[in-house]
């Protein structure tokens, strides 16, 4: 018998992106960023200025016309939705053993997440509190639109 050390062959693992690893890292990183974004959001909405009384259509319209808050809200939307959907995906993986139900639930998660992200992003960047309306329909607009 030879004295060389026996080594079990290096296991073959398919190459490519390791999604489970990046998913895990994403949860940690987005979690930390979301703490800042969400508490910043709550603080400016509820604590500064007049506090909760200030929140109305004009307040939201004003915020969504400021690029800073547009990007803040979009970042929050994307990070939170993907974070939540990935969390739900892991729960489905952990607790749904039926293959078809598992797959159906994950597709439902994907579709609803993509839909909400697309719609949310669209609203944040295209929202116009005072759109151009046909003559005679001005009474449908918010009260502050006349001043603009």
């Amino acid at each position: 018998m030879t004295t060389s050390t026996a080594t079990i062959a290096r296991p073959t693992r398919r190459r490519g992106i390791n999604w489970e690893k990046w998913g895990w890292i994403y949860m940690r990183v987005s979690g930390v960023i979301l703490v800042v974004l969400i508490f910043g959001h709550l603080f400016t909405n509820l604590m500064t200025g007049e506090g909760i009384k200030a929140i109305d259509f004009a307040f939201v319209g004003g915020k969504l016309s400021d690029p800073f808050w547009q990007w803040w809200d979009v970042a929050m939307l994307w990070l939170a939705l993907i974070h939540g959907a990935n969390g739900m995906r892991t729960i489905v993986n952990d607790y749904v053993s039926s293959r078809s139900v598992n797959l159906a639930l994950k597709w439902a998660l994907l579709v609803s997440t993509v839909l909400l992200i697309v719609l949310g992003t669209l609203v944040v960047f295209t929202f116009d509190p005072c759109p151009v309306v046909a003559p005679g329909s001005e009474h449908l607009l918010a009260s502050f639109c006349g001043a603009l």
């Binding site: 050390t5 080594t7 079990i8 290096r10 296991p11 693992r13 390791n18 999604w19 489970e20 690893k21 998913g23 895990w24 890292i25 892991t90 993986n93 952990d94 607790y95 053993s97």
Partner: protein, 254 residues
């Protein structure tokens, strides 16, 4: 000296030790008779200093010889008698009756997530299979200096000291909710034993083990529920060991 001790034991026995009746409800399963496992209760006379294993012995020896369970050393070293006692994974030989609430029946069942064979005995093969997959043996490719031995400092030994304590009882792996639903997951015990060699300064195959555990069914399935740390009869910080392996994978080296 032995006489003195014997006298002391006799003197104190009537005052300190008092037997009481404890009800055990055991999940029985005989594959030749039963379609499904069934619960059966036994009343046993026990002392507070007795262990759950003593109760099982009394049942097997005095009441029902067909009760099947594993045990070898009966002193918390061999890791044969891990079972679910009142819903928690414990070694029967390390669980004292006085630490349980005996006003209620004590529920004893086999550990979960592994195929049930009979009564409290499960098929441990899937557990040992994932243990084997992490290559739990020292692999040193370098020649030791002076042709004698591989020296290790106290700090280097300390690095993996906690995970050397594992006795492979499967209490941690069978307490893991991810393992219950996904038998492919390596499970805490395999990761603990990989940790023991990954952080060993004499071992050269850490990269191979990190690669194995960086799999879809590897460390990333851990949800940090701490069930394993709670279940470990040796007090190993299992969840921390898994977290250290995760960090080593991200660093790309131990």
């Amino acid at each position: 000296m032995s006489t003195a001790m014997a006298t002391a034991a006799v003197d104190s026995a009537p005052t300190e030790l008092q037997a009481f009746t404890v009800t055990l409800i055991i999940r029985r399963f005989d594959p030749e008779v039963d379609e499904e496992p069934r619960w059966q209760d036994f009343d046993v006379e026990l002392y507070g200093t007795d262990r759950v294993l003593d109760a099982l012995h009394k049942i097997k020896w005095e009441q029902d010889g067909s009760l099947a369970f594993r045990r070898s050393c009966a002193h918390g070293i061999c890791g044969s008698d891990a079972m679910r006692i009142n819903g928690r994974n414990r070694l029967a030989c390390k669980t004292l009756i006085k630490d349980l609430d005996i006003s209620q029946p004590i529920y004893v069942e086999a550990i979960k997530g592994l195929p049930l064979e009979k009564d409290l005995i499960v098929d441990m093969e899937p557990f040992f299979e994932s243990f084997r997959q992490v290559q739990p043996f020292l692999q040193a490719s370098s020649k030791p200096k002076d042709g004698k031995e591989r020296k290790q400092s106290v700090e280097q030994r300390e690095r993996f000291d906690d995970t050397t304590k594992c006795i492979l009882c499967a209490a941690c792996t069978s307490s893991c909710p991810v393992f219950w639903t996904d038998g492919q997951y390596f499970g805490p015990a395999a990761i603990v034993n990989a940790h023991r060699f990954i952080f060993d300064s004499r071992d050269d195959a850490a990269q191979v083990r990190l690669d194995i555990l960086n799999d879809k069914e590897g460390v990333w399935r851990c949800r940090t529920t701490f069930n394993c740390t709670d279940a470990c009869p040796r007090g190993i910080q299992v969840t921390q060991a898994i977290a250290e392996v995760k960090q080593a994978i991200m660093r790309g080296k131990p």
